[in-house]
Amino acid sequence: MKIRETINQIITEFNNFDDWMDKYNYLIEMGKSLPLIEDKYKTENNLIVGCQSRVWLHASYADSIIIFTADSDAVITKGIVYLLIRVFSGHTPDEIIEAQTEFIDIIGLRDHLSPTRSNGLVSMIKQIKLYALAYKTKESLNI
């Protein structure tokens, strides 16, 4: 599925909810059901620190595709991490670099991505994009 299609699917899912409580319950369910990262990758190196909650991000690259796994110590952050992984993981560096994150705004979770929230999510998105750029450069230089 293309990134655009995944994003549209997510927007449709969230449009089912009128109530903020239901939205968060849905996020919490998504967050609860996934560890998303092997314990051995929950290292200092993979830690994206926010002062509110922490996020671990691991990337691997094969056949021009980047696979991301991630986790967080806060459940709501975990839910949003799950959404981001759904969108970004399993795509080429170019697709990831071009992808926009305004869908978070559309589904009403913009506040969680405000830099002032310091929950590691903004840094996580930057890190995802950086990984994409790095792998793209690596590939073009045939390293």
């Binding site: 903020w20 409580m21 968060y24 319950n25 919490i28 002062c51 509110q52 909650s53 922490r54 110590d73 806060a74 459940v75 709501i76 952050t77 969680h112 310091s118 929950n119």
Partner: protein, 407 residues
């Protein structure tokens, strides 16, 4: 007056308290971060800009002289409020952080390699980082008074840290995270017996209790207007005159000088020596109005009601179950840090936010405390005299809702 607090009638003076967030009444429990301002403070600032704005101190015209009189009038008002000896001992700053940086920079210039600075394990970053920067610059050493499990300082360890190399002790009056009231008077006496001066970070102290700097005998006392119902961007540094006279200026510029030539410049007398540039006159007016407001209400009444709120909230939280209170010193102000067992503070805080309840979550600019207690952060409810028991009831209901959502 006291019934104005118990009945919540005092809230009428604070327009912001009747607003809504997410369609729900605002319950503002983040007073340790900043307090709300009564009408009188906002009007004092507006009045200054509408009717009395002029630069102070050197003008010969009417407006300038009026502004100067009013400005120096607030300085004298604060001198009385904290019982300093004279206006020479009260320096206006941007706030507590700048006050501490001023002392670290200026007093710090007189320090040497191998000197020691003593702080505590529960300091706000504002009372850690300036000293770390100074230690790095001067090759001096930072010594830290340990904190006990209940949030009180280890007083025996404190005495043991003081020696002939100690140049200054810098401690908080009240912990913004744990609510602990530190026995600063006793700690100052101990330091003074060895000739060591003490700086007190009064950001969380001055709004909750009567402070008498002569009785406390502190060498420096730092505070912020916005933590005590005054505007942001203004605060003060109290310093003993003989110390301030020995210290070199902090920032250079206009106002703090006496004579300027390119060969040599001499400095103004206290307090102006430490007040470079045009002061924040409007917010000084606001600060004065805040202090008048506190005086009219009575600090004793404020302290009594805040103590009732603290007791009520603490017992209600404990009764709720699955709550760990972080910081249970014998003497506290109305700040409660807590955790809902098994639930991350960020998760809980997000839900409470949508219920209109403003608490703070995270490390509260005291990361060392979190490391010490092995926690990622806390939820912090910090009260002011305009909070009510009914609001605390809503917090408890909110916590029950959070527990349901995350279990």
């Amino acid at each position: 007056m006291y019934t104005k607090l118990t009945s919540g009638a005092i809230r009428q003076d604070f327009p912001i308290l009747s607003r809504q967030v997410y369609g729900k009444p605002l319950i503002y429990f983040d007073n340790a971060a900043t307090t709300q301002k009564p009408r009188q403070v906002v009007e004092a600032i507006c009045k200054y800009y509408y009717e009395g704005n002029a630069n102070v101190h050197r003008g010969v015209h009417y407006l300038s002289q009026q502004a100067t009189t009013a400005f120096e009038g607030v300085r004298a008002q604060i001198v009385t409020f904290i019982n300093a000896r004279s206006s020479r001992e009260l320096i206006f700053t941007k706030g507590t952080t700048e006050s501490i940086n001023l002392v670290a920079s200026s007093f710090g210039r007189m320090m040497n390699e191998g000197d020691e600075i003593v702080i505590s394990a529960i300091e706000h970053h504002a009372n850690i980082v300036p000293w770390q920067m100074l230690c790095k610059e001067k090759k001096a050493h930072l010594r830290v008074i340990p904190v006990l499990d209940n949030g009180e300082l280890d007083m025996e360890a404190y005495a043991g840290l003081l020696n002939q190399h100690t140049r200054i002790v810098a401690i908080t009056h009240v912990s913004n995270t744990l609510g602990t009231i530190i026995p600063v008077k006793e700690m100052i006496a101990t330091a003074h017996s060895l000739g060591i001066p003490v700086l007190v970070d009064g950001a969380q102290g001055l709004s909750h209790m009567r402070v008498d700097v002569q009785d406390m005998d502190c060498d420096f006392y730092c505070f912020s207007g916005h933590k005590m119902y005054g505007p942001m961007g203004i605060g003060g540094l109290y310093g003993k005159e003989e110390l301030l006279n020995r210290m070199p200026p902090y920032q250079g510029g206009g106002e703090m000088i006496d004579q300027v030539t390119f060969e040599k410049t001499t400095y103004n007398e206290l307090p102006f020596k430490f007040e470079a540039g045009t002061p924040n006159v409007a917010d000084v007016m606001g600060f004065g109005a805040a202090i008048s407001y506190i005086d009219d209400l009575g600090m004793e009444n404020i302290g009594k009601w805040e103590s009732e709120l603290l007791q009520y909230a603490t017992s209600e939280l404990k009764q709720t179950g699955d709550i760990t209170i972080v910081g249970e010193a014998k003497h506290k102000t109305c700040v409660i840090s807590f955790l809902i067992n098994g639930i991350h503070p960020y998760d809980a805080g997000t839900i409470l936010d949508h219920l209109g309840i403003a608490i703070r979550t995270g490390t509260h600019c005291t990361q060392p405390i979190m490391d010490r207690f092995g926690i990622p952060g806390t939820m912090r409810a910090s009260f002011a005299f305009y909070n009510t028991k009914a609001e605390i009831d809503e917090l408890i209901k909110g916590i029950e809702q959070v527990k349901k959502m995350f279990r």
